[in-house]
Symmetry: C2
Subunit: 192 residues, 2 copies
DNA sequence: ACCTGAACACCGTTCAAGT
DNA sequence: ACCTGAACACCGTTCAAGT
């Protein structure tokens, strides 16, 4: 039985994860050691291992808690928003969540090889797509005959919204910061 | 002085790199050890270290030799091609070069943190942008007043061509294979 | 010069002992 | 129960010795 409250445990886990994120921003996923996180957090090796079973579980926690941008602005309301407007809101959410494109890209890379991190990333991605699909639904209803078709259209378009956001993040990670509005304008023109 | 020919050394380096790539496709960058490459190549640890100073140099060699898609089809000729057509050719080149989107994404991740791999990736990217810029030039000339403006427009658009290709690759790495034509059509529609 | 493979250093993980 | 930190296992790298 836990001697400390669940709230204490949660706070401790988040404290460790935030220390880890600070190191990740400085050194990258590959070069961040448990020793670095020990130093940054001020705790001991054993303390970290008493809150996360291993480095992978800490990574999964970071994915589940910090890699999904705040989607409140997207999810809220039943107003009709075009896919383009949803993309704009999503890029704004990415910019606001405080994690650099470089670290996001590194977690995608971890998630592109089979394993626990990939499983966690896919779970996170399912949540993201669900949020996007419900945001796209009012628009989809205006372009389809019945509710079933609308749901399918909205779900299909979430992949494309994600692709445009992924292009922006990968582009920023390699080539440096870029204005989201300028990016969208340039990519729209180029695809004509 | 080398006892064997430069040609032999080159062949040996490529042999090692191709063995490494086979392991990378199976296990990913993070989980590929020198021991794996030793087994896959049939050589010894020392043999690999006599051709590459360390794991990082092997990674840099792979980036410089295998990460740039064959751009012959793009570079050849002086015909006018729209950015859209260049993107189509580039996605075809990516599909043909035999390296999975997952492994490409993992090398981008390595290259998004400061270090030797990033330097090598940026050098490769400079070559890619030069090839794209020259391919875009005929089109750019038709949209500008003088040669100087045309060169600047072509160079600027290379970033956008890259972003669309990056979106495709990152999308495939996370969500699975996708038809390039369908992707371009969907993304074009969604951005209207 | 190219290659072998044992030895070394470092990092993730475990675990006996402390509070 | 939570935490400490030394001990262990594994992987990248080195290097003395072989051809």
């Amino acid at each position: 039985m836990p001697r400390v409250s669940e709230q204490y445990r949660q706070a401790r886990r988040e404290e460790i994860a935030r220390a880890a994120l600070r190191v990740l921003e400085r050194k990258g996923v590959r070069d961040t050691s448990i020793a670095d996180i020990v130093t940054e957090s001020g705790l001991s090796t054993g303390a970290i291992y008493s809150h996360f079973t291993n480095k992978g579980e800490l990574a999964r926690y970071i994915v589940s808690e910090f890699m999904l941008p705040r989607l409140d602005a997207i999810a809220a309301g039943a107003q009709v928003r075009t896919p383009r407007q949803i993309i704009e809101l999503m890029l704004a959410a990415v910019a606001e969540n405080g994690i650099s494109p470089a670290v996001i890209l590194q977690f995608w890379a971890e998630g592109s090889v089979p394993g626990d991190i990939r499983d966690e990333l896919l779970r996170t991605v399912v949540k993201l797509r669900a949020a996007l699909a419900s945001a796209l639904l009012p628009w989809a209803r205006e372009h389809t005959a019945d509710e079933d078709q609308a749901a399918r259209l909205a779900q299909a378009r979430t992949l494309d919204v994600a692709a445009v956001a992924q292009g922006f993040i990968a582009n920023e990670a390699i080539f440096g910061p870029r204005d989201p509005a300028e990016y969208l304008k340039a990519v729209t023109q180029i695809l004509q």
